[in-house]
């Protein structure tokens, strides 16, 4: 099932680029770009690392398509 995400928003909030976020969570810039575009659903490990980096719960970054991410 497709995932909606707010990765780009949170990344912009931190003021970092895809490369930097990738380095922090142990993924490539390409993968960050794929996730932001909704072309790749990250593993639980990667999603949790991302949530830790943004300092928010995973549900605030990812949600099933059609459901809102928690504000």
């Amino acid at each position: 099932m497709p995932l909606a995400n707010r990765v780009k928003e949170h990344r912009a909030r931190l003021g970092i680029n895809q490369q930097e976020l990738g380095q922090r969570i142990g993924a490539s810039r390409q993968t960050v770009s794929l996730i932001e575009r909704g072309d790749y659903n990250p593993s639980i490990t990667l999603a949790l690392r991302m949530a830790r980096e943004f300092g928010v719960p995973v549900e605030e970054i990812f949600a099933l398509e059609g459901e809102d991410t928690h504000e």
């Binding site: 680029n17 895809q18 990738g22 142990g26 993924a27 390409q30 993968t31 790749y40 990250p42 990667l46």
Partner: protein, 244 residues
């Protein structure tokens, strides 16, 4: 269309193609046409192979260079802060690498066809292989360095025999998933091609005297493919999709 009907039709079509190919070979062999036709074919190949090889080198190298120029343009925009340019830059670099692979394959695979009575053809063909190989390695090295500039986490040196392993091990989960899918499709396509060839070789062998070397070679290739795939699956289960 019903899946069973589609499957039966595909099997029938494969049998017809295999049969036509097999009987075609036998017909050429039995009617004595082979001697004349083969002589003409051999002379034609002797002249054509080095020309085709030279053209392959020229066309593939120049097109790859054009793609790399395009990739560098995208990379410059990426350096200027436009993150959306990374994908097109990598795609253009991938195309350039694939073109160089194709060049090497064409030049290498055409070499055995130049083994004719005309010794000069083999000499020219071998010379072109010797020219093409360092060109491809050098350019692939440059492209890999370019990709590494965009993706600094990538490891591996094209001159290293363990390059593919190192490169894979430096890929993250999304890239490994992509490689896994592409590899599975490759296994299926290769298996289909090898089995089709085996059927043709067996049909020919049943009707024309000769040895079984071709069939044994194809069986060995099928066995290698199957065993390495099973071993790979079992290793991946144990390692949970980690390093190769």
């Amino acid at each position: 269309m019903n899946k069973t009907v589609k499957f039966v039709l595909m099997m029938l079509a494969s049998m017809v193609v295999g049969g036509v190919l097999g009987f075609g070979v036998i017909w050429f062999g039995m009617n004595g046409v082979a001697a004349d036709t083969l002589a003409a074919l051999e002379n034609g190949l002797a002249l054509a192979i080095p020309v085709v090889q030279a053209l392959a080198i020229l066309v593939c190298s120049l097109t790859a260079a054009r793609y790399m120029k395009k990739a560098r343009r995208f990379a410059a925009a990426l350096d200027a802060g436009d993150e959306d340019q990374a994908e097109p830059a990598l795609q253009a670099a991938d195309t350039a690498i694939n073109l160089l692979e194709m060049q090497q394959m064409l030049v290498m695979f055409l070499l055995p066809l130049s083994v004719t009575k005309m010794g000069l053809s083999l000499l020219a063909s071998s010379l072109l292989v010797v020219i093409s190989m360092p060109l491809v390695i050098l350019n692939q090295g440059r492209i890999v360095n370019f990709i590494r500039r965009i993706n600094p986490e990538k490891r591996g040196d094209v001159r290293d025999l363990k390059f593919n392993k190192e490169w894979y091990n430096s890929c993250d989960e999304a890239e490994r998933q992509k490689i896994g899918r592409a590899s599975y499709r490759t296994v299926l396509a290769t298996q289909m091609a090898l089995v089709t060839l085996l059927v043709v070789v067996v049909v020919v062998r049943l009707l024309v005297p000769g040895d079984n070397l071709a069939a044994w070679c194809l069986l060995a290739a099928i066995l290698t493919l199957k065993v390495s795939f099973w071993a790979g699956c079992s290793r991946a289960e144990k390692k949970g999709g980690e390093a190769l």
